[in-house]
């Protein structure tokens, strides 16, 4: 068969039935095959970046690799942001790019770019396929690498003549790579050590990241937390790994985390980090991060151990396996005391420092919108976000109860991620509610994808928390740059309602607080894409906040700021 047919056959062998992409000269052959193919649905986005984000969103909500396709040169380079986004958050992504024919590679041919060279630092693996006969094996390898060990993006660059060439199709059952042997089982001795440390700790904290979601370890995590009565804090990408309504949940940790979470980490004597990588947005100033704690670090990627924080008990392997083994081991020892001083303390913090905003004003507070969306949507609703203030409010004020319900660009912080990712999620689960919580700045980075949502009748709902600012940068300018709002005023935003209507979606503008619940209800009950432009309080800030360069214990909330207004503004210590 032809190379392009072998590619499609391989996708089918991997159980792929949805792909996202955008055609072009170097992938015409592949698209010609897709055209004649019934088992695979191709979703045409309006920009290759969106194809990558959509595939990434699809991957994050399903746990299966998402596939995106782009042509050579500019098509391929447009994927770069999407690939880097997936790489930073360890999402399994397969990017298939067209390439100029092999005899023209290196000649600066039309639409030629060295995409394997460009994407080396942002892919888990990539490869330029030079012979059609390699295709089945290399496709198998791509899926295997993307979805095993620490998940990540894999790019295959496919020259036009390779797509056109002939190959026999024998899809390998298994693949053995001598340079790649992920560790899944935790070392028994380390597990024993960890269980002992857990039993002996007086102030333990579970610090949970996206790795718990990636390894579907929610159940095992909850069991460990409950069995040993350990309070749980999550990272941004760890949201949903632990039910946030659970009495042991302290919410998110880090720069815009909760006070209870940050205090608990600071005062803990044992951190049990699971599938989390001690990102600087979590740790704050490293010297002040959990200064008295022994650190257990469970991660499938050995290179994460002691990368940022010194680990005392490393356990390399799959979170689910390790938590299972830990639970077993702890069962054999004894039951932990149920109510300790530590508990009382964390409970008290929760009571004293809830997330709060001014609910008394007449203006629309963005937090209120997020809470209202939460109130009106079922637990399995998928929330995608853009990046910035909208992202933090979506993280803070919506209670995530299930894994894979919150998708956001955590590591790279990619504006423009939310809408295409929401589209990918809705393609994966046509019947579930999918919301994109957006800012007026971010939404304009991939707003053209409204066309995709309309074309495929994907009932994605978009809530723009429109403060006519690049809000997060404005917040920093207010706090650290004497209110010099350099290039962050978006007062000349377009009329989003009319833009939505122009694309064929339902557009709603909300300027009054009283209209908020109805608009959300209307969106939930509309069977096509809805964009709601909420005109919110322009200068609302995201609190709590750990100023850059400060330690977690120096977290401030709205009340702290009001109390000391302008006198003791946090000083920036570099971003």
């Amino acid at each position: 068969m032809k190379g392009c047919e072998a590619i499609i056959e391989s996708l089918k062998k991997e159980g792929v039935d949805k792909v996202f992409g955008y055609p072009g000269g170097a992938v015409i052959d592949l698209y010609d095959t897709i055209h004649q193919e019934d088992e695979i649905q191709h979703i045409l986005t309006r920009h290759e970046q969106a194809a990558a984000h959509a595939a990434d969103g699809y991957a994050r909500v399903t746990g299966e690799p998402g596939v995106c396709i782009a042509t050579s040169g500019p098509g391929a380079t447009n994927l770069v942001t999407g690939i880097a986004t997936a790489h930073m958050d360890s999402a399994p992504l397969i990017a298939l790019t067209g390439q100029v024919p092999t005899h023209m590679i290196g000649n600066d041919a039309f639409q030629e770019a060295d995409i394997t060279g460009i994407t080396i630092p942002i892919t888990k693996y990539n490869s330029l396929v030079k012979d059609p006969k390699e295709l089945p094996k290399v496709m198998k390898k791509a899926f295997y690498i993307a979805s095993t060990g620490r998940n990540g993006p894999v790019l295959l660059d496919l020259p036009k003549d390779v797509q056109q060439g002939e190959t026999d199709f024998h899809y390998p059952e298994n693949i053995d790579l001598r340079g790649y042997k992920p560790t899944y089982k935790g070392h028994p001795l380390q597990i024993k050590k960890a269980s002992k440390a857990i039993m002996e700790a007086e102030r333990p904290v579970l610090y949970v990241g996206g790795g718990v979601i990636a390894s579907d370890a929610t159940k095992q995590l909850t069991k460990l937390a409950e069995k040993c009565m350990i309070p749980v804090v999550t990272t941004l990408t760890g949201k949903g790994a632990f039910n946030e309504n659970h009495p042991l949940s302290l919410g998110m940790v880090g720069m815009h985390g909760t006070k209870p979470a940050n205090y608990a980490v600071t005062e803990s004597d044992l951190i049990i980090a699971v599938g989390a990588r001690f990102d600087d947005r979590v740790t704050g100033k490293l010297e002040g991060f959990a200064p008295n704690a022994t650190v257990i670090h469970i991660d499938i990627d050995a290179a994460e151990i002691s990368k940022n924080i010194k680990t005392h008990i490393p356990i390399v392997g799959d979170a689910k396996n390790i938590l299972k083994d830990l639970n077993k081991k702890i069962d054999k020892i004894k039951q932990r005391k149920q109510q300790t001083e530590w508990h009382k303390k964390t409970k008290r913090w929760k009571k004293e420092h809830p997330l709060e905003y001014d609910e008394t004003t007449d203006t629309i507070k963005p937090q209120y919108i997020v809470k209202e969306i939460d109130r009106q949507t079922p637990d399995n609703t998928i929330i995608a976000t853009e990046v910035g203030q909208c992202q933090m409010w979506a993280a803070q004020y919506y209670q995530y109860k299930q894994p894979r319900t919150f998708i956001t660009s955590g590591g790279l912080g990619t504006m423009g991620y939310g809408l295409p990712a929401a589209i990918g999620a809705q393609v994966a689960y046509p019947k579930r509610k999918v919301w994109n919580i957006a800012g007026d700045g971010s939404i304009q980075m991939n707003i053209q994808e409204l066309a995709t949502a309309v074309k495929y009748q994907l009932p994605v709902n978009i809530a723009i928390l429109n403060n006519k600012y690049l809000g997060m940068v404005r917040q920093w300018q207010e706090l650290f740059y004497d209110e010099r709002y350099s290039e962050t005023d978006l007062g000349d935003n377009p009329d989003f309602q009319r833009i939505a209507e122009g694309f064929g979606a339902l557009g709603i503008t909300v300027t009054k607080k009283t209209e908020v619940p109805d608009a959300i209800e209307r969106a939930n009950n509309t069977d096509r894409p809805v964009l709601i432009d909420f005109h919110v309080d322009r200068e609302e800030n995201v609190y709590p906040m750990v100023p850059a360069g400060a330690t977690l214990s120096e977290i401030i909330d709205r009340k702290d700021v009001e109390k000391t207004q302008k006198k003791t503004k946090p000083t920036p210590m570099g971003d």
Binding site: T116, G117, I120, P121, K124, Y125, L128, I145, L177, R178, G179, Y180, D301, A302, A303, I305, S306, K307
Partner: protein
């Protein structure tokens, strides 16, 4: 900062050296020397990398290298290993006196004169870093016109091999 020597077995494929070098630049580590050549198995190449850095940097480098798909094995070589580099050193030799001195120095270091001209001698020297540094130092007095050096190659002594 200590100098570390790392031995790697990698797939003998195009682009692998690029990946390794890219990893160093992306993570902000500095390669002192790097040398590559094929092994007894034509599918596998061996690299020797020397780098400066503290233990934490070394640990990260080794872990990050280990993550690469095309890297089969990574080991730090320490204590019991042999290392060699080769340098070609072109020295000024206009004056007959200095010429004999240079040849003497070469003899002492068991280096060879590989090219003689009217105004210059070219010396070939192999050895570990300290030896090459030492002869370079000695020859400096006569005025070095040019040096070409390979990176270090290294392997552990005795029966032990990187492949296990």
């Amino acid at each position: 900062m200590d100098l570390h020597v790392i031995g790697l077995l990698v797939e003998n494929k195009p682009g692998v050296l690029n990946r390794v070098a890219n990893l160093f630049s992306r993570r902000g580590y500095n390669i002192e020397t790097i040398s590559v050549g094929v092994t007894e198995n034509p599918e596998i190449s061996r690299m020797t990398i020397t780098l400066k850095g503290d233990e934490d940097v070394l640990e990260q480098v080794i872990k990050q290298l280990n993550k690469q798909m095309d890297i089969i094995k990574v080991t730090e070589l320490k204590e019991n290993y042999v290392e060699r580099g080769l340098a070609l050193i072109k020295v000024n030799a206009d004056d007959p006196n200095s010429r004999s001195e240079i040849i003497q120095i070469a003899d002492i270091f068991r280096a060879n004169v590989v090219d003689v001209g009217k105004k210059a001698l070219t010396i070939e020297v192999t050895g570990d870093r300290t030896k090459i540094e030492a002869i370079t130092d000695m020859l400096k007095e006569h005025g070095i016109k040019e040096i070409a050096q390979t990176g270090t190659v290294a392997m552990s002594r005795g029966r032990k091999s990187i492949g296990g």
